[in-house]
C-alpha cells in the first residue's frame, strides 16, 4: 500500500506549474477571451508540447512518453488552477493514448464530452465518435459552427463531419467508454485545480479586504465558509487520484471510481465557486476581477464528460440502489 505519487510524477507537475506561472497568467486567459476565433494564442500550448505534456500518454511508437493517467492527473490539476484556455483534456487525456501517428503539437478537440467541442474554432484535429468508432479527422473535413459559450476562455463549437478521410483511433464500446472515462477523470482533475484557484483568490481577498476596521477574513462567517471549501477540496483530491490509479491499472471498478471522482470534484469546485464569490462580494461580481474567469469554467465543465447526476446514477446502480 502506497498512496502517493512518485517523484517523477510530482516533478512533471511542478515543471508544468512553473511553465503556467510564466505563460498562463490571468492576463493570458483574458487574452483568450478577447481572441478572434481561430486566433487563440498558442505560446503556452507550444511549450506544453515541447515539454512532452501533450503526448505524455501517447505510445512511445508515435513519439509519446508512454505514460499513464497517474502521470497526467497532477498536470491537469495545474491546468485547472490557471484556467488554461486550451483543450488539454481532449488532446492529452483522451486522444493521446490512442494516437496512431505523432501529435507534433497539434491541438485536438472533441464533442465526445458534451454537445459541443471546446476551442473548436482553433483545433487542428477533431476526435469524432460515429457509432462505436472513434475517428481522428482534419479540420478541412469538418464544419464548425460557433455555439453559445458562458465561458469565453473555452469557446464551444458544434462540429459536423461528413464522413471524409479519417484515422480510426479506436473501435468498440469498451474503447469508447475508456475514452470517456479519461475525459471525465481529466475534467475532475481540472475542477480540483479550479476550485483551489477560487479558494486561493478568496483567501487573498479575505486577508486584504478591510471592513469595520479589520480584515474580513477575521470574521467567523468568512473563516468557516472557506474552511469548508478547503475541506471539500481536501477530500475530493484522493478520489481523483485513486480514479487515475484505477484507469492506469485497469481496475475493474474504474467506472465507479471515475464516477466518484467526477461527481465529488464537481461538487467541491461548485461550492468553492459559490463561497469565493460570496466572500468577494460586489468586488468579485464583475468581469474586471479575475474570479469570474474561474467560476465560469467551473460552471461549464461541471456538466462535461458526464454530469454529476450521470455519475451519481452510475454509482447508485453499482451500489444496488
Amino acid at each position: 500500500m502506497h498512496f502517493a505519487f512518485d517523484p517523477d510524477q510530482e516533478a512533471f507537475a511542478s515543471a508544468t506549474a512553473e511553465l503556467f506561472d510564466d505563460l498562463a497568467s490571468p492576463t493570458a486567459l483574458r487574452d483568450a477571451w478577447d481572441a478572434v476565433p481561430g486566433a487563440l494564442d498558442r505560446s503556452v500550448w507550444r511549450s506544453l508540447s515541447a515539454m512532452g505534456v501533450l503526448d505524455a500518454c501517447a505510445p512511445e511508437s508515435v513519439g509519446g512518453l508512454g505514460l499513464d493517467e497517474l502521470s497526467l492527473v497532477l498536470v491537469l490539476e495545474e491546468a485547472g488552477r490557471v484556467g488554461l484556455p486550451h483543450p488539454l483534456v481532449e488532446t492529452a487525456s483522451v486522444a493521446a493514448p490512442l494516437l496512431r501517428s505523432p501529435l507534433d503539437g497539434r491541438m485536438i478537440t472533441s464533442d465526445l464530452g458534451g454537445r459541443s467541442a471546446p476551442c473548436a474554432a482553433d483545433a487542428d484535429l477533431f476526435l469524432i465518435a460515429q457509432g462505436d468508432v472513434l475517428h481522428l479527422v482534419d479540420r478541412t473535413t469538418v464544419t464548425v459552427e460557433e455555439a453559445p459559450s458562458l465561458d469565453g476562455g473555452r469557446r464551444l463549437g458544434d462540429v459536423g463531419w461528413n464522413g471524409g478521410v479519417s484515422t480510426v483511433l479506436a473501435e468498440g464500446p469498451e474503447a469508447l467508454e475508456i475514452a470517456r472515462l479519461r475525459g471525465a477523470l481529466g475534467t475532475a482533475a481540472e475542477l480540483l485545480g479550479l476550485g483551489r484557484a477560487a479558494l486561493d483568490l478568496a483567501v487573498v481577498h479575505a486577508v486584504d479586504r478591510q471592513q469595520f476596521g479589520v480584515a474580513i477574513g477575521s470574521f467567523q462567517a468568512v473563516k468557516h465558509a472557506l474552511a469548508d471549501v478547503a475541506k471539500d477540496l481536501h477530500f475530493a483530491r484522493p478520489l481523483v487520484h485513486r480514479a487515475a490509479h484505477s484507469l492506469a491499472t485497469g481496475d475493474e471498478d474504474r467506472v465507479l471510481h471515475v464516477a466518484a471522482a467526477k461527481a465529488r470534484a464537481s461538487r467541491a469546485a461548485e461550492r468553492a465557486a459559490r463561497a469565493a464569490l460570496q466572500c468577494h462580494g460586489a468586488i468579485g461580481y464583475t468581469v474586471e476581477h479575475d474570479l469570474h474567469l474561474f467560476l465560469k469554467r467551473i460552471w461549464t465543465i461541471t456538466p462535461a464528460w458526464g454530469s454529476p447526476a450521470t455519475h451519481r446514477r452510475r454509482i447508485a446502480r453499482s451500489l444496488g440502489l
Partner: protein
C-alpha cells in the same frame, strides 16, 4: 378585527383582470417596437429599449401603481400592488430599469421629502424622464456602509462634492444619483452624513460603466471631482431630510431594499413556474425533492408576504424580520437557478434566460446588505444575541 380570509375581493379581482389584459396586449406591442428579443436592460442598447417600455407603463399609469395619482400612480392599495407584481412577472414583464428610483428613492421621498421635492422628482421619475441610480457603496464602504468617505462641502448656493461611488447599478445610463455624502468633515461612521440627490451631467462628475458578472455594463463607478451641485438642481433642494442626518434617512430606504418592496413574491413565483415547466419536460426523479422544497419555499414567501401586508394594512411596522426576508428570497432564487442548472446540464450556456438568471441570482446574497450582515442583524435584533 375581521377573521382570516384568503380570497381576493371583487374589486381586487377586477384590478388583476385589467392588469393582465393590459400586459397581454402591451408586452407583444413593446417587443414588436424594439425588436423581438430585447437586449438586457443593463446594456446601453437594452436600456434604451427598456426605456420605451417604462414609458408605456407610465402612459397606462402602471409605472408605480401604489403612488398617488398626481405623481402618475393609481392610489392602489398594497394588495393591488402585490397583484400587479404577480401579474407583471407571470406575464414575463422585463426587469424594471427604473427600479432603484421607484423602490428605493421614492419611499424615502414620501417619508422625508418636502412637497416641492416630491412634486419635482416623483412625476418625472414615474415618467422615466429622470432615471435614478443609487450612490451608496464606495470602494472602501461595502458591507461597512458607514465607512463612506465621499464628501459634500457646503458652499454658497449649493454643495461641492468629492469622492467616488461604485457598484452603482445602471449608473452609466442614468441621469440622476441619490446617495450618501459626508457633509461634516470631522464626523465619523454614521454621523455627519447627508442624503443628496444629484444630477449626473454636472461638470466634475465622471461616470464609468463596467461589466457585472455576466459581462453586461450594469455597474458604474461615479467620480466626483469638486463638482458643484446647486441647491436648485432639484426642486425643493438637493438634500433629502435634515443635513447631517443622512444615515437615518437612508435606513428607511435600506428597509425598503431589504424588505418587502423590492422583492415581491411574483418574481420567484414566475421563476418557479418556469422551472416546473422545465422539470416536467425532463425525466429527473432525482430532483423531485429539491423541486418540492423550492416550491414550498416559494409558497412560504408568498404567504409570509400576505401576513406582513395584513400587518402593515392594520398599522404594524416592519422590523428586523426584513432581514429574514432578504435571506429567504436571495437563497430561494439561487436554489431555483441551481436546480435549473442541474436540469439543463450541458445545455446551460451562453445568454439564455437561465444562464443570465443564474448569474443575477448570485448577486442576491451580496447586494442590499450581504447575507452575512443580514444574519448578524437577525441574530442581534430579533434574537437579542450580543453584538460583541
Amino acid at each position: 378585527m375581521s377573521s382570516m380570509d384568503l380570497a381576493w375581493s371583487d374589486s381586487e379581482q377586477r384590478f388583476r383582470h385589467d392588469v393582465r389584459e393590459w400586459l397581454h396586449e402591451a408586452l407583444p406591442r413593446w417587443r414588436a417596437m424594439v425588436g423581438d428579443e430585447p437586449k438586457s436592460g443593463d446594456t446601453r442598447e437594452g436600456f434604451a429599449q427598456h426605456l420605451v417600455w417604462e414609458r408605456m407603463l407610465h402612459d397606462a399609469r402602471y409605472a408605480a401603481v401604489s403612488w398617488p395619482a398626481r405623481f402618475g400612480g393609481r392610489d392602489a392599495s398594497l394588495w393591488e400592488w402585490l397583484i400587479f407584481e404577480d401579474e407583471y412577472y407571470a406575464a414575463g414583464g422585463p426587469p424594471r430599469i427604473t427600479q432603484n428610483g421607484i423602490f428605493l428613492l421614492a419611499p424615502t421621498l414620501f417619508e422625508f421629502g418636502s412637497d416641492e421635492q416630491q412634486a419635482g422628482v416623483l412625476r418625472r421619475m414615474a415618467a422615466a424622464e429622470d432615471l435614478w441610480c443609487q450612490g451608496w457603496s464606495e470602494p472602501g464602504a461595502g458591507s461597512d456602509l458607514a465607512a463612506i468617505r465621499s464628501r459634500a462641502r457646503r458652499v454658497d448656493g449649493g454643495w461641492r462634492l468629492d469622492g467616488q461611488k461604485t457598484w452603482t447599478t445602471r449608473g452609466a445610463f442614468c441621469t440622476h444619483l441619490f446617495g450618501l455624502f459626508r457633509s461634516d468633515e470631522e464626523s465619523e461612521r454614521h454621523r455627519g452624513l447627508s442624503y443628496l440627490m444629484v444630477p449626473l451631467d454636472l461638470p466634475g462628475i465622471t461616470v464609468r460603466g463596467f461589466g457585472r458578472l455576466d459581462g453586461d455594463e450594469g455597474f458604474a463607478e461615479v467620480f466626483f471631482d469638486d463638482a458643484f451641485v446647486s441647491d436648485e438642481a432639484i426642486p425643493g433642494g438637493v438634500v433629502l431630510g435634515t443635513p447631517g442626518e443622512g444615515w437615518s434617512v437612508a435606513m428607511a430606504t435600506t428597509g425598503s431594499e431589504r424588505g418587502l418592496t423590492l422583492r415581491s413574491p411574483g418574481r420567484f413565483r414566475a421563476t418557479m413556474v418556469r422551472l416546473l415547466d422545465l422539470a416536467r419536460s425532463r425525466d429527473r426523479p432525482d430532483l423531485a425533492d429539491r423541486l418540492v422544497e423550492a416550491w414550498i419555499s416559494t409558497e412560504a414567501y408568498e404567504l409570509s408576504t400576505l401576513e406582513t401586508v395584513t400587518g402593515i394594512v392594520g398599522g404594524a411596522a416592519v422590523g428586523a424580520e426584513s432581514s429574514l426576508n432578504k435571506l429567504w428570497w436571495s437563497e430561494l432564487d439561487v436554489e431555483l437557478h441551481l436546480i435549473a442548472r442541474e436540469l439543463l446540464e450541458g445545455e446551460f450556456e451562453g445568454d439564455d434566460a437561465w444562464s443570465k438568471g443564474w448569474q443575477f441570482a448570485l448577486s442576491g446574497p451580496i447586494y442590499a446588505g450581504t447575507n452575512e450582515i443580514q444574519r448578524n442583524i437577525a441574530a442581534e435584533r430579533l434574537l437579542g444575541l450580543p453584538r460583541r
